[in-house]
Amino acid sequence: MSHRLANLFHGRPRLQVGALLAGPVGWLVVGYLGSLALLLIASLWSVNAVSGELVKNLSFENFETLLNEPVYRTIVVRTVAIAALVTVTDAIVAFPIAFYMAKVARSRGKAILVVAVLIPLWSSYLVKVLSWRNMLSGGGLIDWILEPIGLSGPGYGNTAVWLVMSYLWLPYMILPIFAGLERIPNSLISASEDLGASPFTTFRRVILPLTFPAVVAGSIFTFALTLGDYITPKLVSNNQFIGNVVFNNISSNLPFAAALALVPIVVMIGYLLVARKLGAFEHI
């Protein structure tokens, strides 16, 4: 039986491709993209305020509301700004660690470091956020540490969201950069030094350009994960982010939630296209 099937595929590359792709593409395109498209359509509908029934008349009123009410602009700007900030912060914090892991550590140290970086990924996201919430509360760890210097912690708010998100997504930035750095043969670096470059110049003109795609790959995750999160803003701030408003509106006003959800979709698709051009997809 398996012979017959195998012979059917032999020499017929197109059939092979078709069979291979039927499952994954079917699932992703029909199931996932289809769901996204349905959401897009839902954003053109509206809802009866009291009964919750969907009113399936096409109109742009949800998008009009999004554009006209200033609060939504504020929320989108806030979300995107913090996502960008988190990305930059993580890139800066991750690079030394990744560099040490890739180029300086010996094999056993490297193994330990990789495991050490991966373990927080496996600790529950929720518990990490809760831990930060405790640390940031009045009288928590951060206040306790800063008290002798006379400062107090940031408390809850945008700063807290930035801190916690930078913390949560850091491993997602470290790993691609680490992988990217490993791929740079040491001989390239030696050559640069032999040609008389200082370590800083080598870093700036050899290492950085070569790892840039990896950094972009990492940034896809830090940016995307921040853009859609609603749990962290809810737990460590009072401010609304895109995710919060979508979440709050899902049951009472799905079309409006769908309309707002289109914003991160559009942003991320744009981001992904740019990232692909920059070669980041080789590094995910």
Binding site: L28, Y32, G34, R106, S124, K128, A179, I250, A257
Partner: protein, 288 residues
């Protein structure tokens, strides 16, 4: 690479600060898991082990097993679909090939809430089916595919297709070639991808919230429900610590699996000298 002494020291400090940043909240969490009082104050008044047995006996146990079930099935589906897709892309040329990578990344690049709402809408409004563990598994598999796909494709690209051609020349049909030549060489990449996919599914909360049925709970969902209950908080902390400890093994395994090929080269060459252009595998680090 030759670094000046000062640079070395600065680098070590930066790494130290980074690691401290990563581990202090986990440390705080661990301390609270041993906290003898239910009230959160720092520093905690006393230490006790009592929360751990309570954690093991509590409803967290059911949630834990549900998470394991969901993770295993979702990973299996992701392994299947991810491998199939990677085989197609790595070994063939066809219309729309570049789009596949893009497509596969979407479920994980788009915010969880978007994926969750979209799938929820499709399940409940369009298909009219009830939410249940099945819907959760479908959702998890969707964003786990990319993890397997990336690991697998990286491996396939570096594995020259001449092996498969030789196998065909020797008379093996496509299935035999796959089973005896391709698959064994991909094992470690699939293993790493599978472990990472499992980890992703195990800790997922946002998409799960939108696709889970009324009576079910995965572990993150359980944690979220108990997050603010003062009585439960020490138990939640204990559960979290247990999960972290249990996960050290799979993490280490994932790391070792991808070091398999490069293991010899690294051992032979010592820490710093490395074979140009290849050598040490880096897929395990691809997309947690």
């Amino acid at each position: 690479m030759r670094l000046s002494k000062r640079s070395r020291i600065l680098l070590r400090v930066a790494v130290g600060v980074g690691l401290a940043f990563i581990y202090i909240p986990l440390f705080v969490l661990a301390v609270y898991a041993f906290n003898s009082s239910k009230i959160l104050e720092w520093p905690p008044p006393g230490l006790t082990f009592e929360w751990f047995p309570k954690a093991i006996e509590s409803t967290a146990k059911d949630a834990f097993w549900t998470s394991i079930k969901v993770g295993l099935v979702a990973t299996a589906i992701a392994l299947l679909l991810g491998t199939l897709a990677s085989l197609a892309v790595a070994r063939h040329r066809f219309f729309g090939r570049e789009t596949i990578s893009f497509l596969v990344v979407l479920p994980i690049a788009l915010p969880g809430i978007v994926t969750g709402v979209a799938l929820n809408n499709t399940f409940t409004q369009v298909l009219g089916i009830d939410l249940s563990l099945f819907t959760v598994i479908v959702a998890h598999a969707t964003f786990c595919i990319v993890v397997v796909y990336n690991n697998s494709i990286a491996r396939l690209r570096r594995m020259s297709s001449s092996f498969e051609e030789a196998s065909a020349d020797l008379g093996a049909n496509t299935w035999q070639t796959f089973r005896h030549v391709t698959l064994p060489n991909m094992r470690s990449a699939l293993g790493a991808g599978g472990l990472l996919a499992f980890g992703l599914s195990f800790d997922e909360i946002i998409v799960t919230t939108f696709t889970i049925g009324a009576g079910e709970q995965t572990l993150p969902y359980w944690i979220y429900s108990n997050l603010f209950r003062a009585q439960q908080r020490p138990i939640v902390n204990a559960v979290a610590v247990i999960v972290v400890l249990i996960s050290i093994l799979p993490v280490y395994l994932a790391y070792r699996l991808t070091r398999e090929e490069g293991g010899l080269a690294a051992a032979r060459g010592g820490g710093h000298e490395r074979i140009e252009g290849g050598g040490v595998e880096t897929e395990a680090t691809a997309v947690p």
